[in-house]
């Protein structure tokens, strides 16, 4: 049995977020060392603020300023620092009810160990030196020994130069394996052999194989070498540069039915002017040194295939 391939797959994108009026005021407030909450229909103060009442669904727009000090309502120790977390060392996650608020905010508490945290302890905000209008403008919370002081006071939410959007980067780390059938295919292609698998039920030859027939739902095991020549069943001429793709424009992206395969695979056609590529063109793969895949397919010079011979594969 061939080696099962595995490789890391990182999916990462800097998503942007328009904030809308409430989050815009909240995050701009943090930049100005002002914590804003919002008043609900029944006079509760929610911090962080939300746009719509969680009970009545009413639109909420009455902002208030609350204290920079508060009380821990519950907590969890975070023993190991992970990428993207605050403080760069172990810390406590806390839910903290700021003075004047009726709900708690999630943040980090800077203490040396779990023995230094307890529900009901008093804490205050440690502001970040550089503030941009983000939740990280609160660097963390720290222990504080003063009593509950501040009341919520009305605030118009107006600031100079308000933050209206943020970047919210997302990143997912996977360990990807294409599975048995695709691993075998990828390995054989690297050895310049095109090997598909035949379905024991409908006899169709799948390339690339997926280990099961999508129509019959049964496992495929019988290996079948196909090609290497094939027929262009259809194509498009690409004039759009894709970010992660280093192919000179224009180029031809084609569906190619390799001889003996029951569906087309996809490849690039070269070795012929792009505007002379046509359906029915006979092509063969061209490998470059060390390439895992054929770099492209080029004309074989044979006469074009008759439409009737490949129309079921279009």
């Amino acid at each position: 049995m061939p080696e099962l391939l595995k490789a890391p797959l990182v999916v990462e994108f800097p998503f942007t977020r328009s904030l809308g009026p409430v989050q815009s005021a909240f995050l701009t407030g943090l930049r100005e060392r002002t914590v804003l909450g919002v008043k609900t229909s029944d006079d509760k103060i929610l911090v962080p603020p939300v746009e719509y009442d969680p009970v009545t669904a009413d639109e909420l727009r009455d902002l208030v300023e609350v204290g920079a000090t508060g009380t821990v309502t519950t907590w969890a120790w975070n023993p190991e620092h992970r990428r993207g977390q605050p403080l760069g060392k172990p810390f406590a996650w806390i839910l903290v009810k700021l003075d004047g608020a009726d709900t708690a905010l999630l943040h980090a508490l800077d203490v040396d160990g779990p023995d230094a945290v307890h529900t009901g302890m008093r804490v205050r905000i440690r502001w970040a030196e550089e503030r941009t209008g983000a939740i990280t403008d609160i660097a963390c919370f720290e222990p504080y020994d003063g009593d509950e002081a501040s009341e919520a006071t009305p605030h118009d939410g107006e600031f100079e130069d308000k933050v209206s959007g943020i970047v919210a980067p997302a990143r997912l780390d996977y360990m990807y394996s294409p599975g048995r059938a695709a691993s075998a295919y990828i390995t054989s292609v690297a050895e310049r052999k095109m090997v598909g698998e035949r379905c024991p039920s409908c006899s169709k030859v799948y390339i690339p194989p997926r280990g099961a027939c999508p129509t019959c739902g049964v496992a495929t095991r019988e290996e079948v070498e196909v090609g290497p020549s094939g027929t262009v069943t259809t194509f498009c001429i690409v004039n759009v540069k894709a970010k992660n793709l280093d192919i000179e424009l224009p180029y031809v992206y084609a569906h190619i039915a390799l001889d003996g395969a029951d569906l087309a695979l996809h490849g690039r056609i070269a070795g012929i002017p792009y505007d002379q590529v046509r359906m029915g063109l006979r092509v063969e793969p061209v490998w470059t040194e060390g390439g895992r895949y054929p770099d492209h397919y080029r004309p074989t010079g044979e006469p074009d295939a008759d439409y009737d011979t490949y129309k079921e594969l279009v």
Binding site: V11, G20, A57, Y176, L245, Y253
Partner: protein, 390 residues
């Protein structure tokens, strides 16, 4: 006594003005706007809604993984059932159908259904071309995926090259009559469409959908709810979904079997024998112009190989015999996650006689259609101005 289904009525419809970027609102604010307009249209309040069913495009398209969690308060779903539906580009259609089934089965009396997308907060082309290890990167985006199938359609039917440009020219002109449409190209001409650059030959720039921010909401209710409706409801006469794999030996990308089966199911439910004569208009999912003639055949409005002839003869124009996409369609407005629901909602608007400047005279039966994935998910409904007979 046999148990019959509860007839389902559309009594509220709301859309945002679709644009390239709604930077003034959060996603919550965007969906709220569409939902409020639907409630207003139905003259109902949040308290009248029994359940909420939402849909959006695949998660990577805007990076919101659990919209149902984040949007429950904006959509008044607290204390009520809330579900999310997930079928790629067809999601707006399947979301409406799930909501409709909740009413038809008498699980709920009145359901809010909504679909949305803020394409400006991400990049759909990135979302469609993740760098999967061991795979050869060849292409990015939906245009390159669908263009070879358009070429296959042209070869199979002998359709002349200019058909696609006729569709785009029509849809962009229709959009000028729809205040909610994204693209309002006041100086559009056929020559301009035909002179626009080829992106993925045979698909031109002007024959490609835009990238939009927008939301669409509908309120579906039972017979009792319809009786209280201040405005004429649209009645659901049939609705169906079908799926098939993205790729399999024998798949017909030009006219997928799942699409044919889905349409046949809808017609059977609605008692439609001859869709071309009995249906007054259709809002069908046409992200690239050539998909109009392709779907005309797939949906049974034309014989195989004949769809392009309807387009060429002007049958699908707003004043034609079978108007297609009077709203301007996906070619003029494409918040992907919402695009299917907009088709369904526009069909309902037409049979309610409320489509304004893009109203089709005397529209009594209209079809809404959505597809998604690699032409693998289909969702359709047929709505009428009268309650269903069966």
């Amino acid at each position: 006594m046999s148990v019959t289904k509860e007839p389902v009525a559309v009594v509220g419809i709301g859309q945002t003005k679709h644009v390239a970027a709604r930077k003034d609102v959060s996603i919550a604010g965007l969906v709220r706007e569409a939902a409020q307009r639907a409630l207003q249209d139905a003259q109902l309040t949040w308290a009248d809604i029994d359940a909420v069913v939402i849909g959006k495009a695949p998660d990577f398209f805007e990076g919101v993984m659990m919209p149902e969690l984040y949007l429950a308060d904006a959509l008044g779903a607290v204390g009520k059932p809330m579900l999310r539906v997930h079928t790629a580009g067809s999601v707006g259609g399947s979301t409406a159908l799930v909501a409709s089934k909740l009413v038809a089965s008498r699980v709920h009396k009145t359901v809010l259904t909504l679909a949305f997308e803020k394409q400006s907060e991400s990049n759909a082309m990135w979302g469609l071309s993740l760098p999967v290890p061991f795979q050869q990167p060849l292409l990015a985006g939906a245009g390159g995926f669908f263009a070879p199938h358009v070429r296959a359609y042209m070869r199979r039917t002998g359709a002349p090259d200019h058909i696609g440009s006729l569709v785009a020219y029509k849809d962009r002109r229709n959009a000028l009559k729809n205040p909610y449409a994204h693209l309002h190209e006041k100086d559009i001409t056929l020559e301009k469409v035909q002179a626009s650059p080829m992106l993925w030959d045979p698909v031109r720039y002007s024959e490609t959908c835009p990238s939009s921010d927008g939301a669409c909401a509908m309120i579906l209710t039972d017979r009792e709810g319809a009786a209280r409706s201040p405005q004429a409801p649209a009645w659901v006469h049939g609705g169906a979904m079908r799926s098939e794999p993205t790729m399999f030996a024998g798949k017909d990308f030009v006219s997928p079997q799942a699409g044919k089966d889905c349409a046949a199911d809808v017609y059977q439910q609605a008692g439609i024998k001859d869709p071309r004569r009995e249906i007054d208009l259709a809002e069908i999912y046409v992200p690239f112009s050539w998909y109009e003639p392709m779907w005309l055949e797939n949906l049974g409005f034309a014989e195989e190989g004949e769809g392009w002839k309807l387009t060429e003869a002007g049958v699908t124009e707003l004043d034609g015999d079978l108007p297609i996409n009077p709203s301007g369609g996906v070619l003029s407005t494409n918040p992907i996650g919402a695009s299917g629901m907009i088709r369904f909602a526009e069909a309902a608007l037409q049979v309610r006689g409320q489509a304004g400047e893009h109203q089709v005279d005397g529209a009594r039966k209209a079809m809404g259609h959505a597809y998604g994935g690699g032409s693998q998910f289909f969702a359709m409904w047929l709505v009428g101005s009268e309650p269903p007979q069966n």
